[in-house]
Symmetry: none
Subunit: 251 residues, 2 copies
């Protein structure tokens, strides 16, 4: 059995079974456990799986579920959220996009803030209900199961009539030339409606969203006024955004 064959088999098993054990692979593929461990280490280095003691797991666990996503890079999310929360001033009309980072942002808003918050995300609305100084408005619509935001014509219509002081956009992809992108057409229209007439647009993007692009274009980078990202980003990667006049904040 060739090395690449064996690794393909390993990835297949991982996809179908959801996990692999080093010892099982060793016996079933009839190679020493050292070879398997080398394979797993190598595949982990290529980002094709996640090495754990005893075997390996899919890299993104269950990336589809909202709860699973909120478990990814929680400290980066939290620091971005804290930094972004400091951008909100009393009396502002704040529009919050959905997503795990914006949910953290909602939780990070200071307790004595007095503002009006509008969101398409039911979990964010629930998180903000406790807050004493906020007026929370939920944008209605059809609920997207994976991202937990509302979409559809009614959501777009409701957002169009709002002139936000500041919009926080949880981006799926942010690319210097392509702009803000997402992977769902309906969500794109909702995000675009948020941006219309907004005074400030703050994009929240952790390091592995920068420089990436998703299939659906939301808006060009000129629509974004601020970018909040985490500390794990080299300055060179941020230069193109600064060149476009975007204020870049490192958390």
């Amino acid at each position: 059995m060739l090395t690449d064959e064996r690794r393909t088999v390993i990835l297949d098993r991982l996809r179908t079974h959801g996990r692999v054990l080093a010892t099982d692979l060793s016996t079933e593929l009839d190679v020493s456990s050292d070879t398997i461990r080398r394979d797993l280490r190598e595949l982990d280095g290529q980002g094709l799986l996640r090495r754990v003691h005893g075997g390996a797991l899919p890299r993104h666990g269950d990336a589809s579920s909202f709860a699973a996503r909120s478990r990814r890079a929680p400290e980066a999310k939290a620091s971005i959220a804290r930094r972004a929360a400091a951008c909100v001033n009393d009396g502002q009309v704040v529009v919050l996009d959905g997503g795990t980072t914006t949910l953290e942002l909602a939780r990070a808003l200071r307790d004595d803030l007095r503002a009006s918050v509008i969101t398409t995300s039911p979990p964010i609305a629930v998180a903000l209900a406790d807050h004493p100084g906020l007026d929370v408005t939920v944008i209605g619509g059809t609920l997207r199961a994976d991202s937990l935001v509302t979409v559809g014509a009614s959501a777009v219509e409701a957002l169009r009539i709002i002139r936000a002081d500041i919009v926080f956009l949880g981006v799926c992809g942010l690319h210097p030339e392509i702009g803000v992108t997402t992977n769902d057409l309906e969500e794109r229209h909702v995000k675009a409606a948020m941006l219309e007439g907004a005074a400030e647009v703050v994009a929240l993007a952790d390091h592995d969203k920068l420089g990436t692009a998703m299939p659906v274009i939301v808006a060009p980078l000129s629509a974004v006024t601020h970018l909040v990202t985490d500390a794990d980003v080299e300055d060179a990667a941020l230069a193109p955004y600064r060149a476009l006049g975007i204020e870049v904040l490192r958390a």
Copy 2:
């Protein structure tokens, strides 16, 4: 079972059940309680849960007042919810009012149900997002912090255009002569809009809401077609509702 798998299971249980007990996890996952405690300690260190004596809780507790209410008479709520959930048929348009009992109802819907659910309650929307066969629509509006439902003109308008097959109403008070009552004027208008044009109206009321009245009248009892209540109610108290042609279901 790999360590990471086990911790994922723990977080999933925490998310679905709202809490986990160390001893339960130990027996169900078939590892020593020491291992579970190590897991919980580790996950707490990562900020993914909140360690407490005996188990763990979600790091971000639910909205306080709402969460407190949902702990009141949980077994009565659950049985009412189960009974009411059986009233829903495939293909129906279901409107769900807010409240802790209707939240339980949402969780009690059978997994293979295919229906369209419309709700003013963000927590209910979140709870239903996992459900594979449901089309979930959130009614937008201003969020009431204590009851976690949306209210206001836009909510009323959105509900007016809907002809529901079945409406589940979480009532604050149900009185044979006064009818359905609540304690918030805005919520009253939302509830009233739900009832308009509904084919069936199911009121969910545990024993201590029967025979009581709140300040604001939502609708007369003639608007209600079904009443689901718990077993702790004497027949005499139900007679007046039956006399009005309401089908009474005891859970």
